[in-house]
Every structure is written in C-alpha cells, then in structure tokens.
Symmetry: C2
Subunit: 306 residues, 2 copies
Amino acid sequence: MTRLDQIGEDRLVARLTARLPRHPQLRVGPGDDCAVLGNAADRRWSLLKTDAVVEGVHFTKETDLRRVGWKALARAVSDIAAMGGIPEHALITVALPPSMAVAEVEALYAGLTRCAEAFGISIAGGETTRSPAQHGGPGPLFVSITLTGSVEASRCILRSGGRPGDLLLVTGTLGGSLAGKHLDFHPRLAEARWLTRHFRLRAMMDLSDGLASDLPRLAAASRCGYEITAPLPTLPGTSQEAAWQDGEDFELLFALAPGEARRLLKTWPFASLALTEIGRLTPPPSPTHGRDDRPLLHGFDPFSPP
Amino acid sequence: MTRLDQIGEDRLVARLTARLPRHPQLRVGPGDDCAVLGNAADRRWSLLKTDAVVEGVHFTKETDLRRVGWKALARAVSDIAAMGGIPEHALITVALPPSMAVAEVEALYAGLTRCAEAFGISIAGGETTRSPAQHGGPGPLFVSITLTGSVEASRCILRSGGRPGDLLLVTGTLGGSLAGKHLDFHPRLAEARWLTRHFRLRAMMDLSDGLASDLPRLAAASRCGYEITAPLPTLPGTSQEAAWQDGEDFELLFALAPGEARRLLKTWPFASLALTEIGRLTPPPSPTHGRDDRPLLHGFDPFSPP
C-alpha cells in the first residue's frame, strides 16, 4: 500500500489528473497556476484558482488570524497574477472548531476583506462548516479560497511557453519567508500586469513552493532544461540554499527572449522591487547527461516529513 | 468571549457577511444557494458555489471514499440545480493526512469523476495539501468543492421571490437520509431544469440542513411566514419529525402561485419521483402572533452539539 508521504505531491497530482473529464472550453487544466476557460476566438479568457491554508501546515495556532486571512487570499491573487490576469470574485470556505471564538473568525474575515479591498476583489460567497474534535483536542482551522479572474487572451502567460535560450528572471528576494513575509507578502499583480503590457513573456509562474520545486516545473512544462547562471537574490541574512528551497516567496518567475530581457532590465519601473536575471532555459536534458548538477535540494512538499 | 457553538451557523454567517466588499456584477451574494454574477441586460448569468465535506461531520472514517467523492460534488450540483442552472466546471481542494493510501485518494477521485461525468461537469483544477496530525492521531480528510454554472436570466430562481399565498412543494421523500441516501443521492438537476422551463417558480432552494432549518430561510428571504398544511412525504419507515429535521435530503423546495401549482401537479412527468404540496407561504408573522406553532425543532447546524 503506497502512502502519500512516499510519492509526494507532484506524482499524486499526476495520477489524479490523468483521467479527469475535460470540457472543450477548458484551455488549460490542472498543472498551471490557474485553469483557463474560453474559446480560441474569445478576446478575454476566464481564470479559476483554488487554494487552501491549514493550521499546522501554513500557519500555527499562535498566528494572528488577520494575517492568516490576508495570506489565504493573497496566495490565490499571486496565482492570478502569474497568468497575467486580474482577480474578480472570491469564495471562502472555512472549517472551524466549534470552540473557536466568534471574534477570532471575525479577525480572519477582516484579513480576507483587507486583501480583497487591496486588489479590487468581491467576496461573492462561501461556506462555513465544522472542523471536528480529533483525538481529544480541537480540529485544525482550514481555509479554502476560490478566486475567479480574467485575462486578455493575448496577455495570458502559461508555464509552457518557454524556449531554450530564454532568460529566467525573478522579482524581489527569495528565502527566509518563514520569518514573516509568508504572512504579509504583497502579490505581484501590478508588476505582472505591467510586464504583460510591455513585454512578450514566454512563460511565467509564481514561486510558492521554492525555486527548487517550482523552476523544474516551469522548465518541464516548457519541455526545457534550465541552468542557474547567477547568484539568487536573497532576503538580507538569507543563504543561497534558503533562497533555493525555503518556499512561500510569492515572487514572479518568468522567461523571455534575451533581447526582451535586456530591454526589460533597463526599463523596470518598480524601483523598490528587485528584478534579477538568474539563469536560462536550455534544451531538454537527455536521460544520461546535461542534468543540473546542483546538490539535490527540494522545495516544500506538503506530504513529505519536514 | 462568544464561541461558535453558542451562536450557530446562521448568525455567524450574518455577522461575517455584513461588511464584505461587493462587485457591481454580483447580483446575488451570500445567502442564496449560489452567488449570481452578471449584468441586468445579460441573457445568461454565471453561478458560483463552494461547499465542503469533512471527515467526522459529513462522513466517517469507515465510509467508502467513492461515495464521499460522489457526495462532495453532488451537494454542489444540487445548489446549482436549486437556482435553475446548469453546472459547468469544478475545482477540487483536498487536505489529506500524509499516512493516507494513494489508492484511497484515487477512490475519492473516482467518485468525484463519476459524479462529474453524470452531470456533464469538467474538473478544471484543484489543490492538494496536508491535513496535519492532531493530538497524536492523523488529521481529518477535508474536501472542498467549487462549482461554476450558468443560467438563463429568465430562469434564475432565488429564495427571495416567494409571495404570501404561494404553495410550497417538495420533490421526493424526506428524512432518514443518514441510512445511506446522504451518500448516494441524485441531485434534482433535470427536474429543476424542467420546472423552470414549464412553470413560473417564484422561489426555490435545495434541502440540505432539513426542512426545519431550510423552510424558515426561504420564507425569511421572501419576507413571508409559512404554514405546513399536509403531512410531509417521508422515506418509508421514517417519522414526520425525522422528515422535518434530519437534513441532507437534497430535494427541491419551491414556491409558486396556486394555479401554477395545480397545473404542475397534474403534469409532473417524473413518475418515479414524488412531488408533494406541503404548505404555503403566509404574510410575515408579527412579533406577537401568527407564528408557526409546531414544536420548536431545528435541522442540522454544524456548530451545535449533536
């Protein structure tokens, strides 16, 4: 009997999604930051994203629930941004221990509402249910978010459009998120919209599980390999290793042709946010050589022992 | 410090939704079976629904996970049906204990897929995360579903359109769902579509928490009172009290003018499914008289002690 902690998230998702019913309007299904819905001739496509944060995984019992609310919705905003899109309507599903104080639930919703207002999102509905007592103690708080959005068809950026030779850039600094940034990060929505308005991005995603997990996903979706050619931009006091694997950076990782990248690096207008060339996409590695020779480090996997 | 189990779900939701940011396109927000999005001039509106089932609340550790998968998605289909709509795309978010067998997760997805195929739904995406160990044992399984849909503006039926004098009808039989029906029920999608094509329904909802909880919600949304004028249709071997308060019936409750109701009862084509007139909407009760004098029984509330 194979257990989840023996195969990890990526292989689980590959098994679960192999035989799902697909709709002709589903342009991009499981495997990108969001699902994309629409017809080829449409000028605008719809985006759908679902995500969840769980007590004991993404935050602790001691975390201010205003920050948990912000984080829960901001994670989904980051995914809409990574497609080049604009967020629209959110649905909020919570499982709450009955012993929880009403004021605590209100704090959670205050954080959700603050994030919704910051990014122009309406809260369209939700569901409240119980997290049952487990083994003699209260159950964990569970917050699941669905966020809809839309994007001009011409500005919708997938993970799969990268080509060998494209340069890889990241916004901001990586690593050390657990010290606080993972609760207060600002999704790069304005930056992604500016990028897709002015540059031809070939592939983009947001960094949620760490570059060590996420970059191989972008490269694989683009049927490329990759190489890191420069030091990673790190949060002050953070090591290169931490920048590679800590996760929850919620920065943008994207690929574009070298000429476009050079033009971008000269014109980047967000003075307080770093933009760094970190490497490039390569031809796909063969089974026997050409693999990345960095030490084998992995980003966050929810099913792996910490 | 007020706790959730002291105020119950309806009062919690009223407090949480009092100050949410709303979008001009949001025609119906929290408080109906689904959110409704669109402009007044649109011929078709979008529907959004989120729902969740939790181990220890909606099913037990022993429940066949194929049936849990069916139930999780079918509950949301029932809500889309209750608006008169057609389901389209589903997102599936699960929190899983790492010790769970991959084959069990695949069984859950087999049930979800079977339900998706039965109702023409595409599975557009999802999220998998961990349900952490709690107090020395594995965490509970959480399954959260988002379902999109659409409905012709002229056929979108809210809870709020009922008028005093309208007759109240229910499909099927009520009560006793816990013996098995709650896992295998068939959402009344075809029946709701037929109803909205041929009759002018004034208000409709699906019965998820039991008539004792749900009928007062429909009446309140319509600014009416109600009275029960006939025995409730019961599952064989089930009492009137059980039919009133057991919950998880997933039948349709709707209101329409007496003339329409009489015509409907003569032409109902679904021979194997009961259709029963159970009562009527009345003028709103005054604070001092005119209240329903049935014994004070309540349907399911997730935060109340069982």
